[in-house]
Symmetry: none
Subunit: 411 residues, 2 copies
């Protein structure tokens, strides 16, 4: 047995029937000969990634599940994944948060949660708090790194921290920056909340008169005069895919969050340039390193973006370009060298412009699968397949069972 | 309501498409008019016995699940089932292990894990340690009984024991007999490991110069000069099927393990002679005692054996002979006196020669079932049936519900 797996997750690909698409879903409407081919030779099913139909999956929790880790047990908050995804090391015990450079007035009322979105000075602004130690907890170090646009990642590193704290980000404008609060009675949560509140004030103190912010204001941009924080989280304390299955795995994704989740469970990152809608670069990267890894996790974000934009036509186009990418990988199924699994992390409704709780389709094609009678890939067609209904956390053991890597329970 | 149930488990019957069978699975390829008849008049589904698709079920855990007991909660190790299966009484608190008479050199290197497999002196060799009390724990008694060939069952009986210990069996030749280690920090596990290690040494001391071993060596056989131990387990502390459902149930199986699992949850054993591939004796035994039991668990091992041997043709033949057996039971469905449920404990791939994580088909035929549109019994056909995807632990409540024996939850 030396087969490989391509796990292709099309973010938010699942959808509901859309009037302007003749009552079809985008994946039903799209012309997808290769996805259909996978369904024809493969085994199909319907899946709720969290295993709780109707509950709306987040991207982070859904991906943890797809990698085989029950998010109800292992998920704490998005911050740690984002920090990993932007290239920071996140250690056991660290608490990581997502940050925004935001614009506040002198009363800490938020005028713009994103300081106008365009923040090319992010690296220097993040440097202002990076390495900071606050008087409340001199044993804790603040690590900050600019991500994209107005975004940054913040890590608190030191003893006795907890992710059980609320955000300082008010998640709306014309609201005051919030005071982080502990979410349980632990000393750790209280300590962490104190540090975050101190850091919040300190960031404003250090940024409000920063020369780069003066320059921004001079040229008419909003100053990034505070860092507002959200999504405190820790890396899941789990065995890696390598430890569980003895495999080497790699993530191919242009988006920090998904890289972060993948890195947190032991995948290696294979960098690619921005796809600009051409996903063939993702397939080529995987094929280039084919012999080096057992599992390739390939992530496409644009299906989700099109849904959030309410753009059905664009979503159809993205799906058709994903289909084209699959044509590059399919020969490895034909030569019995690989399995291809295509699915989504959740349904993102073009009409609702948001994640909803509906199931997603899943197909697995490859040498040893029990093919079924499904002939096309879609939410409705796959629901009649041989996999029937599965949960997100079932996917990885199923794939690993084809590689004969899944452990036995019992004897 | 006075219907009965035949629960027929064809061990490892599930399989994957096999090239030499025209891309069909053995059950698809086999000529099975009676199984197909069951599917036609019955309700069908696909099932992962452990409820965790992809995870590879052991035989012991899968059967616990099929009897309605969640192995994630109640399974400790195979030893207790094997001991029950060979006719020993296993009490609450006992720790039971599987033993092999093995051949070691003077440095306790294992030369043959099975002492040549042929050990007709097993009864006398087991008697050497039976009743032993070791200086480490004079309150614990060793009970040993020869099973078949090189196999024996060993029970430790006394206060303060634990199954959380590792094997002394190194599971390979040319490796030293292992030192049993506690798997947790409990005194009980440490005590049990000490006893096992002492017993391991003592068995070698008592067997190495045993006259029967001298005779074995004189006639050119390897001596059974130590007992190597594995699979420490305790009987699940559960209510019996009788306590749960008020039924009488019986196991018909020629294999110790399956009898053991069945006995552990309160079935009675109906002995039959070796089937030698003719399973009709199993059906006849059930029919003979039809009025005495509500549930008959009939187990056929040969499907699994054929898979482990990589013999697709033999597996097809075994399935066809199982089909013939069903012809003897089917009249009881026609007369509305009984339900027949046919399934497998796991998929054993002829190609992989091992258990794999794929689902198994299940059919239930009988007076009150909602039949579906499935017309033939197989992994793929049953997946489209009215039961949809179920878990192993669902089977027993479903069957008991047809007998109106399943308790209500709520009111």
């Amino acid at each position: 047995m030396c087969a490989h797996v391509f796990l292709i997750v099309c973010d938010g690909m699942g959808d509901r029937p859309i009037e302007e698409l003749d009552g079809k879903t985008p994946v039903e409407f799209a012309n997808t000969p290769w996805l259909d081919k996978l369904s024809e030779v493969g085994i199909n099913g319907i899946m709720h990634t969290l295993g709780t139909p109707g509950i709306v999956p987040g991207s982070d929790t859904a991906h943890l599940a797809l990698f085989g880790y029950d998010p109800h047990i292992y998920y704490s908050g998005r911050g740690a994944f984002e920090a990993l995804g932007v290239g920071l090391e996140v250690k056991e015990g660290d608490v990581a948060l997502r940050g925004n450079f935001a614009t506040v007035d002198e009363n800490l009322n938020v005028l713009d949660r994103r300081a106008g979105r365009y923040v090319p000075e992010g690296d220097q602004l993040a440097a202002v708090v990076n390495g900071l130690k606050l008087p409340e907890a001199p044993d804790v170090e603040v690590i900050a790194k600019h991500a994209t646009q107005h975004r940054c990642a913040v890590i608190l590193r030191g003893p006795g921290l907890s992710h059980k704290v609320t955000d300082t980000d008010p998640h709306e404008t014309n609201a005051k920056v919030k005071i982080a609060k502990p979410l349980d009675d632990s000393e750790e949560a209280q300590k962490t909340a104190n540090i975050i509140n101190s850091l919040s004030g300190k960031s404003h103190e250090l940024l409000k008169d920063h020369p780069l912010n003066k320059q921004r204001q001079e040229r008419g941009d909003l100053p990034g005069n505070i860092i507002i924080l959200r999504g405190a989280g820790q890396v899941p304390n789990v065995k890696s895919l390598t430890q569980l299955y003895g495999i080497k795995s790699a993530v191919i994704s242009t988006n920090a969050l998904y890289r972060g989740v993948a890195l947190s469970i032991g995948m290696e990152h294979l960098p690619v340039s921005e796809t600009k809608g051409d996903y063939i670069v993702l397939a080529k990267k995987a094929l280039e390193r084919f012999d080096n890894y057992d599992l390739f996790f390939i992530h496409v974000k644009d299906t989700d973006n099109a849904s959030h934009d309410g753009n059905a036509e664009e979503k159809v186009k993205v799906i058709e370009r994903i289909d084209e990418m699959i044509s590059y990988l399919f020969p490895k199924v034909e030569s019995k060298e690989a399995y291809i699994c295509v699915t989504a992390d959740h349904t993102t409704s073009v009409k609702a412009k948001n994640h909803v709780g509906d199931d997603v389709p899943v197909v697995i094609a490859g040498p040893e699968v029990r093919s079924d009678s499904v002939k096309s890939f879609s939410e409705r067609a796959c629901a009649l397949g041989g996999l029937n209904r599965i949960r997100g956390i079932d996917i990885m053991p199923i794939l690993m069972s084809y590689l004969e890597k899944t452990p036995m329970f019992g004897s």
